[in-house]
């Protein structure tokens, strides 16, 4: 079976517009969760968000798209990260056109990020808005496919908060089964009234910046962003710089509840074990876990339980959502990138704002910056509908 290498990465979130800026933010403990500057909602005043610090217009300006009124914030975030990833991997326009180049993206809010316009269009109020043909979940995928003439398999996945982890999974198997030589994988989401009100109605939004794994955590902070990785087969990568290897991936369903994880963490334990099995290593070789760590009562307790069940000696773990907020469909691929930054720099970054760790378990997340030799890292993503995915990456020496 073909090995899978990461040869390019691109990311944008509240803590940076490039992968390098993300690394700097992690190193300096910079948190992107604060009062929103551009998001308009009655909650903009009351809550904090991991908002990308640019207006829609600015983002379009960076990407020379100001004349295209139908382009949504989700699409322009996606495009920003996509371009960095393919540039980083040195994928030429000609290669993108090849039918051996695939593109697997993901989003939850997709083109529905402008809630008011969608309301008017869906209820036939007034003239159709600029976005009448932009609402589908796959809208950003198709716009990018068209811009870059991508010639191979194109797909969009939505498994809620584990979406882009599953995009990585799908892309990896296209390479493993010989259906593609290279795949650009990831996801994008923008902050929208729709999701803010949705999570708020479930009473799982924190008023202040989220405190993953703290005993007194009070919910998640929503973020936004996009992150893409270029996966290539060993043959396709050739002699180019390989950033990391994707060794294992596992997906399972918790089969418990539409919006919470089971107390026994059935799904998370299964997905982590499946990823370990595929990698073919014992759990004690995992040097770091980038946890899903949303900051909700339910997730953090069950995930801590899962980690304590799988690992006899619990490896260092954190939630980088304490920096970026929960970027929903982008979270899986963004956190894969942040995990790889830890891996390649041999650095562990503290989980922010965890003052008193969850009492039910002995373990606590990383609380200070540590330099340490890392070889294998795991990244977890769990979503509504019980969807659980774990990924394992290793160094390329």
């Amino acid at each position: 079976m073909q090995k899978i290498f990461i040869t390019g990465m691109g990311a944008i979130s509240s803590i940076g517009s490039t992968v390098d800026e993300h690394l700097n933010a992690l190193r300096s403990g910079k948190c992107g969760i604060q009062k929103a500057r551009f998001f308009k909602s009655r909650y903009a005043e009351d809550l904090v968000f991991g908002e990308v610090p640019f207006s829609d217009y600015q983002l379009k300006e960076f990407n020379n798209l100001t004349s295209q009124k139908e382009i949504t914030r989700t699409t322009v975030l996606a495009l920003n990260a996509f371009k960095e990833a393919i540039h980083n991997a040195g994928i030429s326009a000609e290669l993108l056109k090849s039918d051996r180049t695939a593109f697997i993206s993901s989003s939850t809010v997709g083109g529905m990020c402008y809630t008011d316009e969608l309301y008017s269009d869906a209820n036939l109020k007034g003239e159709p808005s600029n976005y009448a043909r932009s609402y589908e979940g796959s809208d950003h995928t198709w716009r990018i496919t068209k811009m870059f003439n991508i010639g191979g398999v194109v797909d969009t996945i939505n498994t809620a908060c584990s979406s882009s982890a599953n995009a990585i999974y799908m892309g990896a198997r296209l390479i493993q089964t010989g259906r593609a030589d290279r795949v650009i994988v990831g996801g994008a989401d923008s902050i929208a009234k729709y999701t803010v009100n949705g999570f708020n109605s479930l009473m799982i939004l924190s008023e202040k910046a989220c405190k993953p794994f703290d005993e007194h955590r009070s919910g998640l902070s929503l973020g936004e962003g996009a992150a893409y990785l270029v996966l290539e087969s060993e043959d396709a990568a050739g002699k180019k710089h390989k950033i990391a290897e994707l060794n294992g991936f596992g997906n399972s369903n918790d089969a418990f509840h539409p919006s919470t994880i089971s107390e026994n963490a059935i799904g998370p334990i299964l997905s982590m074990n499946l990823a370990l099995q595929m990698t073919g290593i014992k759990p004690d070789l995992i040097d770091y876990v980038n946890a899903h760590g949303t900051g909700t009562m339910n997730n953090d307790l069950t995930e801590t339980r899962a980690i304590n069940t799988i690992f006899k000696k619990v490896p260092p773990y954190n939630s980088t959502k304490s920096y970026t907020g929960h970027t929903l469909a982008a979270a899986g691929s963004l956190e894969a990138i942040l995990s790889i930054l830890s891996l390649n720099n041999n650095e562990l970054y503290p989980s922010l704002r965890c003052e008193s760790p969850i009492k039910a378990h002995q373990s606590r997340p990383i609380f200070e910056f540590v330099r340490k030799e890392l070889n294998y890292v795991m990244s977890n993503s769990f979503g509504f509908g019980g969807n659980c995915t774990s990924l394992i990456f290793s160094k390329c020496i």
Binding site: E136, Y194, G198
Partner: protein, 351 residues
């Protein structure tokens, strides 16, 4: 990949044998809503009360398969839009109550993977679980995903593979202002030959049990291919390449199932496709049964499987040129000339 069992909830009476046995409903309006089975016998009231139409009909189509087949190893779904009614209900609440206190059920149920999650929950299935939302190719991507999963799996692994799409007033409105539906009323029976712009709107849930085990299979999905934003030459080349990759020549195909949806702007793609085959090639349409919606190629696969098994001779809804029970079928569908897919289906080889 072998197809072992199938079930459909559609604007025809497909959840019983009525449709297969010749029944054909002709609608006089442009919205073809599903005819639903009675759910109260199969879905507990405590769950049913929260379900939107997409989840409900998906479960209505899937549960009989889960019940009459051995343990399945995972669930792979395709849906362009998922539970839109719930989605827009929640959206309307946001605007009408000015982001006040809102009910969460609509939000949780609006995520397109709510169906796959609910199916896992109801069948206690902790296996692989993915939902593809890639617009008009969402079901094709689900097939591809299932194929790859089964290739890497141990013997006798099986999956629930399916697609669901619902019509709500809202997505009808959005597609209407996007120019995708006809402005004049037309019966589904007159759809294919209508010669005007746009199509008519349908919905449905179609479910399959697929496996890497050939025993008792109804059909074999040989392969599939997608192409996006092609010109006509690209499509011809892709077809030739696809046939060669599967060791076939045009003469080997017994029947084409074509996605003509009555939108005169895009009929030329089907003319082109047919011109790549011998003039006497048999072909049938399927959108006259169910209307246009993003994942109706799942219905085409349901239809193809029935045709491979000798059904639909002398069915009064059949339109096209169809005489002989086929052994090899090519399904071709396209969406607005932009997204195109081929699905190649065969009778399972004799053991």
């Amino acid at each position: 990949m072998y197809l072992k069992d199938l079930s459909s909830v559609s604007p025809q009476v497909t959840y019983t044998e009525e449709f297969i046995n010749g029944d054909y409903i002709i609608y006089s309006k442009n919205i073809l809503s599903v005819i639903e089975p009675s759910y109260s016998e199969i879905i507990p009231a405590s769950l049913l009360r929260r379900m939107g139409k997409a989840v409900r009909m998906g479960i209505g189509a899937a549960l009989p398969l889960i019940e009459r087949n051995e343990k399945i190893n995972g669930i792979v779904m395709g849906t362009a839009n998922g539970g839109l009614e719930n989605c827009i209900n929640f959206l309307n609440q946001i605007i009408e109550y000015d982001e006040g206190v809102l009910t969460p059920t609509h939000f949780v149920q609006s995520t397109p993977n709510a169906l796959a999650g609910q199916l896992a929950l109801m069948s206690k299935n902790t296996g692989y679980n993915v939902t593809h939302v890639n617009g008009p190719l969402a079901f094709e991507n689900a097939i591809l995903d299932a194929m790859m999963f089964l290739e890497g799996a141990s013997n006798k692994t099986s999956l629930l593979l399916g697609a669901v799409e619902e019509i709500s007033n809202y997505n009808y409105n959005i597609d209407l202002i996007a120019g995708r539906y006809k402005l004049e009323n037309i019966a589904n029976n007159d759809l294919i030959t209508s010669q005007t712009n746009g199509s008519i709107c349908g919905e449905g849930a179609t479910m399959f049990i697929v496996s890497n085990d050939a025993n008792d299979a109804l059909a074999k999905i040989i392969n599939l291919k997608q192409i996006n934003f092609p010109n006509q030459i690209d499509l011809e080349q892709l077809l030739n390449q696809f046939l060669i990759e599967n060791d076939l020549i045009p003469d080997d195909i017994d029947l084409l199932i074509l996605g003509n949806n009555g939108d005169v702007q895009f009929d030329s793609w089907y003319v082109l496709l047919r011109s790549c085959f011998p003039a006497n090639m048999e072909y049938v349409y399927y959108k006259n049964f169910v209307g246009e919606f993003r994942t109706n190629s799942a219905f085409a696969l349901f239809f193809a499987t029935q045709l491979l098994n000798g059904r639909f001779h002398n069915h009064k809804g059949i339109q096209g040129n169809f005489r002989n029970t086929p052994k090899t079928i090519l399904i071709y569908n396209q969406f607005e000339g932009i997204h195109h897919s081929f699905i190649l289906v065969q009778s399972p080889e004799p053991e």
